[in-house]
Every structure is written in structure tokens, then in C-alpha cells.
């Protein structure tokens, strides 16, 4: 009965949303802004991947805001868990799993670095690459039974990454009078690794920030927040 009432209510809401979306009609082409991005983005920014171009440069200020939202959520988790630690003893995994946890994080870190560095060429960039790097941390944490060594570096890496993101923005403001202007570095030939202005640098900053925040959450789950 309760589920049925909830179902009817949710159905009403979803149909409302669907009707609102249907009233837009079938889109015939790109919108005005998206058409500008698709037509000019290649020359203006020098990135092949238009999604990364939009995330990092055109909407870079929004991304700075969203990264700070992520920071707020992560620090809330870490704060809660350091006040009320979950604190549960864990058993040791079997030796095969332990060996995997020693061998596999290196290649995963390498792959995460590849994704971050090729953010302007392939589907990837700071956010997915950071998640892949954090998954290496998850792999280490699945096998550990006590505190891990890299936990005390996470705060430092996180704040340095946020600082450098803001500084890269201010570099454009000082040099060309525009926050996060992409042309402060050479644009290069689109399609090469060293191209697209400051997009690789900002991707690296976002990647380090996302990776350290997600692994901070994981370390807090595992070891109870750490000692601030």
C-alpha cells in the first residue's frame, strides 16, 4: 500500500518532468552556444575533446565551484568520521589478494596518469583520471589492516592542487585580463600531447584534487578520519 502510493506519486512527478521535456520538441540541431563551441572551439582552445574544452576553459569557473562543492562534501565526511570513528577490526586477506594489492596499484596509477594527461585528446581528463587514481588507493586500502603511509600527504596534495588551479586562473587574469584564459600558453597543433594551452595543467590540478579527496574519503572510511 505504502509502495503503491509512493509509486503513484513518483509516476506523477516523472510524467510531469517528461511532459516538460517533451514540450521542448525534438531538437533539430545544436543550440547557439553549443554550435559556437563545436565550430570555434577547435581553433580557440586547441583541444580535440570538446567536453574537456567546455569543462576546463569555457565553464572553468563553474568547475572551480564544483570542485569546491566536492571539497566540502569530502571534508564533511572526514570530519564526521574523525569525530565518530567506525573503528572495526579487519581480517587479513589471503596471500593471492595481498600480492595483487602489491603489484596492481602501480599500473593503475600509470593508467590514471595517462587518462589525466590525455584529457584534451581522448575521453578523460581530470575527473575520470582522478577517480582511477583513487581506485588504486581503494585497492591498497582493501588489503591493509592498519594505517597507510600515504594518508598524511593527501591534505597537502589536495590544497596544492586547489591553489594551483586558482593560480592558473589568475595567470590568465594578469596576462590577458580574463580569468582562466587558455591562450597564456602556446596552443600548439591540435591532436598532439603538448598542445591546447593550459588545459593539461588544469586537468592535472583537477585530477590531483579529485584523487586526493576521494582517497581521503576512502581512508576515512577505513581508518577513521586520521589525526588532525
Amino acid at each position: 500500500m505504502r509502495t503503491f502510493i509512493a509509486f503513484l506519486l513518483a509516476l506523477y512527478l516523472v510524467f510531469f518532468a517528461a511532459a516538460a521535456f517533451e514540450s521542448f520538441g525534438e531538437p533539430q540541431g545544436l543550440g547557439r552556444i553549443a554550435e559556437h563551441y563545436a565550430a570555434e572551439g577547435f581553433e580557440e582552445v586547441g583541444a580535440i575533446n570538446l567536453v574537456t574544452a567546455v569543462v576546463v576553459t569555457y565553464r572553468g569557473l563553474d568547475t572551480l565551484g564544483e570542485v569546491s562543492v566536492l571539497f566540502t562534501a569530502a571534508s564533511a565526511v572526514i570530519l564526521l568520521l574523525s569525530v565518530f570513528p567506525l573503528g572495526k577490526p579487519a581480517n587479513k586477506p589471503s596471500s593471492i589478494v595481498l600480492l595483487t594489492m602489491k603489484v596492481l596499484p602501480g599500473p593503475i596509477l600509470l593508467f590514471g596518469g595517462y587518462i589525466i594527461a590525455h584529457g584534451h585528446l581522448t575521453p578523460g581528463g581530470g575527473f575520470p583520471g582522478g577517480a582511477v587514481v583513487a581506485s588504486a588507493a581503494l585497492l591498497v586500502l582493501l588489503g591493509c589492516t592498519q594505517e597507510v603511509g600515504f594518508a598524511k600527504w593527501l591534505t597537502f596534495a589536495e590544497s596544492m592542487a586547489g591553489f594551483s588551479f586558482a593560480m592558473l586562473g589568475f595567470w590568465g587574469l594578469l596576462k590577458l585580463g580574463q580569468f582562466l584564459n587558455n591562450s597564456v600558453l602556446f596552443l600548439g597543433i591540435p591532436g598532439q600531447l603538448l598542445s591546447a594551452g593550459i588545459i593539461p595543467l588544469i586537468s592535472a590540478a583537477i585530477g590531483v584534487k579529485v584523487a586526493s579527496e576521494l582517497s581521503g574519503i576512502l581512508v576515512a572510511y577505513r581508518c577513521g578520519g586520521g589525526k588532525e
Binding site: A73, A76, V77, A131, L214
Partner: protein
């Protein structure tokens, strides 16, 4: 049945499932799980708003022969979804922590038995 319709139907189904779960379930972790389902549905809905039939992902490489404005889908919703996924992960982590700590504090994870939340 076009791919656009598949995207729309799956997003609506996920959204429906998530909303029903949030409203009707009693266990706190199930509510958190339903929340992540609903946020996945919203993400797919956002991708659907930028989808154009027969076009490719917005990465201009050698496999796109025409001019980019008639060959790629809208990159703006995809950029939104990219950030929204990561933020969704952090928010659901926060949700799980709050659920676990609340259930430990009150001795139960059942929403109906949480009497002393009313003040």
C-alpha cells in the same frame, strides 16, 4: 525504437525506481541506494537533452569527416554530467556516513523506529 527513446525511457525508469525507493523504503541504506539510482537517472536525462540522432561523441578526430557543427552531439550537457557524477559520489559517501552514524546512535536503521528524531 530509436536510441533517443531508449535513453529517455531508461532515465525515467531509474528516476521512478529511485523516487519510489526514497519514499517507500524503511532501511536507511536502501534509501541512500535509491538516491544514487535517482541521481543516475537524472544524469542520463541530462545526457538525453543533448543527444541528436545519428551524431557522434564530441571529440573531433579523424573519424569525423564533415564540419563539426553537423557531426557531433551537444558537449555542454556531457560536461555538466561529468562533474555531476563525481559530486554524486561524494554526496552519496556523505549520505552513507550519516546513515551509519545515525543507525549506530539510535540503535536501529529502520526509519519507522526512530522516535527521538522528533523534537
Amino acid at each position: 525504437m530509436s536510441l533517443s527513446l531508449v535513453l529517455l525511457l531508461s532515465s525515467m525508469g531509474l528516476l521512478l525506481t529511485g523516487l519510489v525507493g526514497i519514499m517507500a523504503k524503511k532501511h536507511l541504506l536502501r534509501i541512500a541506494l535509491a538516491f544514487t539510482l535517482a541521481s543516475t537517472g537524472v544524469n542520463i536525462l541530462l545526457v538525453w537533452t543533448g543527444y541528436l540522432a545519428g551524431r557522434k561523441a564530441p571529440i573531433i578526430d579523424a573519424s569525423i569527416e564533415e564540419i563539426a557543427t553537423v557531426a557531433v552531439v551537444d558537449p555542454v550537457p556531457q560536461a555538466l554530467v561529468l562533474t555531476s557524477i563525481v559530486i554524486g559520489v561524494a554526496v552519496s559517501a556523505l549520505l552513507v556516513v550519516v546513515a551509519v552514524l545515525t543507525s549506530r546512535e539510535l540503535g536501529t536503521a529502520d526509519v519507522r523506529r526512530m522516535r527521538n528524531l522528533k523534537w
